[in-house]
C-alpha cells in the first residue's frame, strides 16, 4: 500500500473519558497508530497516558471509567464499547503498568494464560517457543512462581504473556517502571525486535522519554488529559520544550543541574 495516507491500524478520535460519572480525565484525545508502527505517548504522571491505553483496551470500565465522547477504531471497526476480552480477540493486548504477573502461577503458566483467547492447542506450543526465543532468560525460570522472579523478568513475562495472544498491536504501559537502566535498554531492544521481526504495532506510554523516542517513529505528548504536541520522533526529540522538560537538557545540549531548575522554570510554550 503505497498510497499517500494509508488507513491507520488504530485511530482514536477525540475521546473524552469520565471516571465515576464526574471526573473528566481525557479531554478530547486523538491519536493514530499506523500498521506495524511504533508510536509513543509521553507525559508526566497523571497526564492521562494510562487512561488512554485503558480506553483502547476496554479495561477502563473495571475502574468505573467510561468513554463518553469520540470513537476508537481498530482496522475500521469501532471498539470503544467492547469488553476487554473482545478487544483481545481483535488483536489488541495491553501490558499493564506495574507488570501484573500472576504471582502464584509459574512463569510458563503465566505465558499459557496469554493464549486463552486462542483455543487451538498445537500452535500454542509454537508460540511458547517464539516467546522463549525473544526472552531466553525465561527458559530457566519457566518452573518458578512468577512472584519470586526479578522485576525485569516479570516485565518479560508480562510482555511474553501478551505476545501469546498473537496481537496485531500491543499497548505497553511504562515497561521501564522500576527497572535498572540496563534492563530498560534490554526490554526496549526486545520491543524493537518484536516490532521489526513479528510486525507487531506498538503504542508505548512512557515517562522515560529518551528511551521511548529512540525506538518510536512517532510521538505524542500529553498533559492534563490533552495531547499538546505530536510529530515524528526525531522532531519531538529536537523540540526545545521537550528537551527542557522531558529530556532534562538545556538548549545547548548539556545536562542541566538540579540547582538551576529550582531557580528557574521556563514556561512551556504550549500552555497559555
Amino acid at each position: 500500500m503505497a498510497s499517500a495516507a494509508p488507513r491507520p491500524l488504530l485511530s482514536v478520535s477525540n475521546i473524552e473519558v469520565i471516571y465515576d460519572h464526574v471526573i473528566l480525565v481525557l479531554k478530547g484525545v486523538s491519536l493514530q497508530v499506523p500498521e506495524g508502527g511504533i508510536v509513543t505517548l509521553l507525559g508526566a504522571n497523571g497526564a492521562g497516558k494510562s487512561t488512554t491505553l485503558k480506553a483502547i483496551s476496554g479495561l477502563l470500565r473495571t475502574e468505573r471509567g467510561e468513554v463518553t465522547k469520540g470513537t476508537i477504531e481498530f482496522q475500521g471497526r469501532a471498539i470503544h464499547r467492547q469488553n476487554p476480552s473482545e478487544v483481545v480477540k481483535h488483536g489488541i493486548v495491553q501490558v499493564m503498568e506495574g507488570r501484573h504477573v500472576f504471582e502464584h502461577l509459574t512463569v510458563e503458566e503465566n505465558l499459557l494464560t496469554g493464549a486463552y483467547t486462542r483455543r487451538n492447542g498445537h500452535s500454542t506450543k509454537k508460540d511458547l517457543e517464539v516467546v522463549y526465543h525473544y526472552f531466553p532468560r525465561l527458559v530457566e525460570r519457566r518452573g518458578f512462581k512468577a512472584g519470586y522472579i526479578s522485576g525485569g523478568e516479570q516485565q518479560m513475562v508480562a510482555i511474553g504473556r501478551a505476545l501469546m495472544a498473537r496481537p496485531k498491536m500491543m499497548l505497553l504501559d511504562e515497561p521501564s517502571m522500576g527497572l535498572a537502566p540496563m534492563l530498560v535498554k534490554e526490554i526496549f531492544d526486545i520491543v524493537g525486535r518484536l516490532h521489526r521481526e513479528e510486525g507487531v504495532a506498538v503504542l508505548l506510554a512512557e515517562q522515560n522519554a529518551t528511551m521511548a523516542l529512540q525506538v518510536a517513529q512517532h510521538g505524542y505528548v500529553m498533559e492534563n488529559g490533552r495531547i499538546v504536541l505530536d510529530g515524528d520522533a526525531k522532531t519531538i526529540s529536537e523540540n526545545e520544550d521537550i528537551k527542557e522538560f522531558y529530556l532534562g537538557l538545556t538548549g545547548v545540549g548539556q545536562r542541566k543541574s538540579y540547582r538551576d531548575v529550582k531557580h528557574y522554570r521556563r514556561r512551556k510554550r504550549w500552555l497559555s
Binding site: S57, L59, R61, T62, E63, R64, N83, P84, S85, V87, V88, K89, V93, Q94, V95, M96, H100, V101, F102, E103, H104, L105, E109, N110, L112, T113, G114, Y116, T117, R119, K145, G147, Y148, G151, R161, A162, M164, A165
Partner: protein, 312 residues
C-alpha cells in the same frame, strides 16, 4: 495436680492403646465427619479463589441441592435422572447468580458482594422451601446405612461411599485446576483480576464455571449429609462448621479445605470420646472454633493458604 495431669495427658492414651479397634472406629467416624466438612468448605474455597467473594450462601446451596434432589426423587424420578436434573438446576442457578447478582455489582467493594450473598442465602432458603416443602425429608439414594465388620472394626457402608466419593471429587477438582486451560484461567483470575482481563479472560464465563462447580460440590455434600441425617433446614448450618475448616486450611487452598476438614473431624471426635468426660462432654461443639481461634493467632493464612508474596 499430678492427678489432673495424669487424667489429661496419660489416661486418654492408655484408653486408646487398650482398645485399638474402638480407636480405629472413632478415627473413621472422625474422618467421615471431616470429609463432610471438607466438601462444604470446598464450595467456599472455589468461589473465594476465583472471585474473592466469601459466599455466605454456600450452606444454603447445599440444602437447596439436597432439597431439589429429594423433591425429584419423591416425584418418582430414577436416581440418575434426578442427579442429572439437579446438576442442571445448580448450573442454571450459577448462570442466574452471575446475571442477576454478580454482573450488576462488578467493581463494587468486596463487602457489597458479601452482603449480596447474604441476600442470596435468604432467597434460596425461602425459594427451596416454597418449591419443595419445609418438612424433614428422607433421602434414599440406594446405599444402605448398614455396617460390616473388618477385623473387629465396624465400617459403615454409607460413610465409606461418602469418603470415596469425596476423595474422587477432590482429585478431579485438583486436576481441573492444575492442568486444564479453564482451570489455569481460574487461578489467574484469583491472582489478579485486572491482569486476567487484560489478556482476554472473560470474567463472566469464569464466574459461571466457578459457581457451577461450587453447585456440584454442594450437591455431593447435600447428598451425603442428607443420606446420613435427613434433608432439613439444619443442613444449611453445617456451613458454620466449614468456617473453622477454612481458617485452618486457608481460604484459597483446595488441599487446605480437605486437610483442615480432616483435622477438625478427627480432632473433635477424639476429643469428645477421650477427653470429653473430663469436662462433662460437648467438646465436639466448640473444638473446631477454639482450634480456629488458635490458628488465627499463630498462622492467620492457614495451613495451605497462599503466602502473601512480598518483594523487598
Amino acid at each position: 495436680m499430678s492427678d489432673l495431669l495424669y487424667m489429661v495427658l496419660v489416661a486418654p492414651f492408655k484408653d486408646m492403646a487398650g482398645a485399638p479397634a474402638f480407636l480405629v472406629e472413632v478415627l473413621i467416624g472422625g474422618v467421615f465427619a471431616g470429609l463432610m466438612y471438607s466438601l462444604v468448605a470446598l464450595g467456599f474455597v472455589l468461589i473465594y479463589k476465583a472471585s474473592g467473594v466469601f459466599n455466605f450462601a454456600q450452606g444454603v446451596m447445599v440444602l437447596f441441592a439436597a432439597l431439589t434432589l429429594v423433591g425429584l426423587l419423591e416425584r418418582g424420578a430414577p436416581v440418575v435422572v434426578a442427579l442429572a436434573l439437579t446438576v442442571a438446576v445448580m448450573v442454571g442457578l450459577a448462570y442466574a447468580i452471575e446475571r442477576v447478582v454478580l454482573r450488576p455489582l462488578v467493581n463494587q467493594p468486596q463487602i457489597i458482594l458479601f452482603m449480596a450473598t447474604i441476600g442470596l442465602n435468604f432467597f434460596l432458603e425461602g425459594f427451596g422451601e416454597m418449591a419443595w416443602g419445609a418438612n424433614v425429608k428422607k433421602l434414599d439414594i440406594g446405599i444402605p446405612d448398614r455396617s460390616f465388620i473388618v477385623r473387629g472394626v465396624q465400617i459403615n457402608e454409607l460413610e465409606l461411599t461418602a469418603a470415596v466419593t469425596a476423595a474422587v471429587l477432590v482429585t478431579l477438582l485438583a486436576l481441573f485446576f492444575q492442568t486444564t486451560r479453564i482451570g489455569r484461567a481460574l487461578r489467574a483470575v484469583a491472582d489478579d483480576h485486572e491482569a486476567a482481563l487484560s489478556i482476554g479472560i472473560p470474567l463472566k464465563t469464569i464466574w459461571v464455571v466457578v459457581w457451577s462447580v461450587a453447585g456440584v460440590v454442594a450437591i455431593v455434600a447435600g447428598l451425603m449429609w442428607g443420606a446420613k441425617s435427613g434433608v432439613q433446614f439444619s443442613l444449611s448450618l453445617i456451613a458454620l462448621k466449614a468456617l473453622p475448616v477454612l481458617i485452618l486450611g486457608g481460604f484459597e487452598s483446595v488441599p487446605g479445605a480437605i486437610v483442615g476438614g480432616l483435622i477438625i473431624g478427627v480432632g473433635e471426635k477424639l476429643g469428645e470420646v477421650y477427653w470429653g468426660p473430663l469436662v462433662g462432654g460437648a467438646i465436639e461443639n466448640w473444638f473446631a472454633y477454639v482450634l480456629a481461634l488458635a490458628f488465627l493467632l499463630v498462622r492467620p493464612q492457614g495451613l495451605f493458604g497462599e503466602k502473601i508474596i512480598e518483594r523487598v
